[in-house]
């Protein structure tokens, strides 16, 4: 693993816009950066793939255990949310995708930082933008990226066995509109769904209608929403006004409600309990003292439902604070995790590896760099190659 500085393409803005990337810059600062790239060996990439597939299987086993052992309250999942999680898991509601965030600095096995299993973004950047960058800059090299084949394949899987006139062949796609970044991810998934054979309707999450007579969710044309991909967190949906209508609605949601277990930081404690001292797990739990004893290098406190680095505090081994981000989360509780060694990016920056799972298969890699230790929504996407 090595990070190289390089000259961006002279017309890089035009080049990325040409493939449909319209959120490359936020507040005058580039989000997409091609003044650097990461190079890996084929063996490293094979390792990421193998480890990610294994971690994903461990996560599925952990979901089963959390439900069977009645541990949902430890995740803050109670009432309606618990009902939806249990039912969706019992029905084996299919899932589409997720992103495992790994810490890896070139030595030792990669370590799981967390699993963005419900509303991961940066998919379009990983699948398309960095691919075209590679084709332009390093056509002879390879990239861990079969995301598009994986997505089309997975959408085809979701259509299998469904008759031609069935409303489940139509996918409603919803996020907060307008929003360049979320919409960019949504549109890309929509293109893949259409390629696989779905018809689609895109709508603002706030435009979803509830028909109290038929007890169905409907779109703006009052067409029934049989299946909906939502780029919107489950924990928000269940506590909003329409949340209570979900059980009666018969709408099949993608991601399914059971992903609430995996996107919750409490899953890290469950994994450590089930697979203690696994090569790719960091010690994690609710007991600060217990985790601190296992982590002389320091610990990290994470809000169970925190997003984009909010409400994360990193402690040094002596108990002093190395870095902290505030935010709106934490009322639901915190998890403690041993501090990981992160790859260095530049003078003070760090990089996190996001391995994409499409269905149950690791299909690609996207690297995000933070200016400090905590990866937030100010991070940068940086492309990679291998070989």
């Amino acid at each position: 693993m090595q990070r190289f500085d390089c000259a961006p393409r002279q017309d890089w803005q035009a080049a990325v816009e040409a493939v449909g990337f319209d959120f490359h810059t936020f507040d005058a600062a580039p989000y997409w950066r091609e003044d650097a790239f990461w190079q890996f060996t084929p063996a490293e990439i094979d390792g990421f793939e193998r480890v990610s597939n294994e971690l994903h299987q461990m996560c599925l086993a952990a979901v089963e255990a959390v439900i069977a052992d009645r541990k949902l309250p430890l995740f803050g999942i109670t009432g309606l949310a618990a009902e939806l999680v249990q039912e969706s898991w019992a029905r084996k509601d299919p899932h589409l995708y997720g992103r495992l965030d790994l810490a890896y600095d070139g030595s030792g096995p990669p370590k799981l930082l967390e699993y963005n299993a419900d509303t991961p973004t940066s998919l379009f950047e990983a699948a398309i933008v960095q691919w075209y960058w590679k084709e332009a800059m390093f056509p002879g090299k390879d990239q861990f990226n079969s995301l598009e084949e994986g997505l089309i394949d997975r959408f085809q899987h979701l259509l299998r066995g469904i008759p031609s006139q069935d409303p489940r062949r139509h996918l409603h796609m919803s996020c907060i509109l307008p929003n360049l970044e979320d919409e960019g991810n949504l549109k890309y998934l929509e293109a893949c769904a259409i390629d696989a054979g779905f018809t689609t309707t895109r709508l603002d999450i706030a435009d979803i209608g509830w028909d109290s007579q038929t007890e169905r969710f409907v779109d703006l044309d009052e067409q029934v929403i049989a299946r909906m991909f939502k780029l919107y967190p489950w924990e928000w949906m269940v506590r909003e006004e329409f949340g209570r209508n979900i059980p009666a609605s018969l709408t099949q949601f993608i991601e399914p409600a059971w992903k609430m277990i995996l996107s919750n930081k409490a899953i890290l404690a469950q994994l450590w309990e089930m697979y203690p001292y696994h090569d790719s797990l960091l010690p994690a739990g609710f007991d600060q003292a217990g985790i601190t004893r296992l982590a002389p290098q320091g610990v990290v406190r994470k809000a169970l439902l925190g997003r984009e680095g909010a409400n994360v505090t990193i402690y040094n081994g002596d108990g002093s604070i190395a870095e902290s981000k505030d935010g709106d989360y934490g009322a639901e509780g915190f998890l403690w995790q041993a501090r990981a060694r992160l790859a260095k990016a530049g003078q003070t920056g760090t990089a996190v590896l996001g391995v994409w799972l499409i269905g149950d298969q690791a299909r690609g890699l996207g690297i995000r760099e933070a200016d400090g230790l905590i990866t937030t929504d100010d991070c940068h996407f940086v492309p990679h190659i291998f070989g």
């Binding site: 598009e148 919107y232 909003e240």
Partner: protein
């Protein structure tokens, strides 16, 4: 297999564009044929629906005449400079360039003619007959000849937007997001 071909990507992009077009066609074609008698008159989805309801050739002629007069009255349809503003009122995909429906219509957008009304209905007498385009806004309110027609009856089902009813409520999702810029993780 880690490589992906750009051909696959281009295919997806092309499908997305084609898909949008298909959707539009579908939504227009799917409006079921309708006829019926509201107090103000009969409302038909299109000329074919009117002809299908006509008892004889005189009425077929009336259908054609009413349709053409309604089309002419598209010149009086609410006009918007921007398609988005028009869609704010009439719903996504329900607005068309004014020039496409009004001869010499110039710029701007007007709502799609969801049907047409024949005031008084068949045999209402030419003197009293009103021919007017029918528009339906995104709340389901239906307009013809500049007035709101409450719950017109459309035999065989109304266009989708006309079915907006009091049993549908919106805005029950999305409230948590209002304070946050993006949901990504």
């Amino acid at each position: 297999m880690r490589r992906q071909t750009s051909a696959v990507l281009l295919l997806a992009a092309a499908t997305l564009l084609a898909g949008c077009d298909d959707d539009k066609k579908t939504s227009q074609n799917q409006q079921p044929a309708g006829q019926g008698s509201a107090q103000q008159g009969k409302i038909y989805k299109d000329l074919d629906a009117c002809i299908a309801d006509a008892p004889d050739m005189d009425h077929v002629k009336e259908c054609r005449e009413g349709y053409h007069q309604a089309m002419e009255k598209m010149a009086d349809a609410p006009r918007f400079e921007q398609q988005a503003r028009c869609e704010d009122v009439y719903g996504p995909g329900n607005c068309v360039p004014r020039g496409s429906v009004v001869e010499g219509g110039g710029s701007g957008f007007v709502p799609f003619m969801m049907g047409y009304m024949m005031g008084g209905g068949f045999g209402g007498g030419y003197g009293r007959t009103i021919y007017a385009p029918v528009f339906i806004d995104r709340t389901g309110s239906t307009y013809a000849g500049g007035t709101v027609i409450n719950r017109p009856s459309w035999t065989g089902g109304a266009p989708a937007a006309a079915r907006a009813s009091s049993s549908v409520s919106r805005g029950g999702f999305g409230s948590t997001a209002s304070a946050r810029p993006t949901v990504g993780g």
